[in-house]
């Protein structure tokens, strides 16, 4: 599998996905 960080779009999409995951964690478990 290609590393998503090798492309700029892959990096940005990974960042947005990570944002959504962390937001869910904060909202559900830590807020």
């Amino acid at each position: 599998m290609k590393n998503p960080l090798d492309s700029l779009w892959g990096t940005v999409i990974s960042g947005v996905v990570l944002t959504a995951i962390l937001y869910y964690v904060v909202r559900t478990f830590l807020n």
Partner: protein, 163 residues
Amino acid sequence: MDFVPAVARWVHFMAGIMWIGLLYYFNFVQVAALKAAAADGTAAGITKHVAPRALYYFRWAAVVTWLAGAALLGSQFVPAFTLSKGMAGIGIGAWLGTIMLFNVWGLIWPNQKKILGLKPATDEEKNKARRVAFLASRTNVMLSIPMLFFMAGGWSHRALFGI
């Protein structure tokens, strides 16, 4: 001492803009520019004159950003980093910023020194250093996205966090 948070926030923003601005410059501009410049033999202009200066401001802006952020948190420093109730959002932002600072000083800068010839390295070591520095830099771009979401989580985010 009421002026400390205001000055800390001001410095945190200025240094943060310089840090993340240069991070985006490296990733969105310089990587592609170096590839094109290497093809027509003009890469030295970037590696000799631009990259060392950009890296200098990049790595020290990272330190100033973190220190000003810590000053801004003040007595909320420990509650933020332990993700205490009501502090989890800014705490996640602070942790992401801290990981990014370690990436700058622990991975990007030591490997860039080899790439730019500031530290002796064989061609094989330089190639490895290029890959490590590249991935650490791209990791920081990825981390900057949630970092800015949580750092900038002010009143505009109240609906998202159910406040």
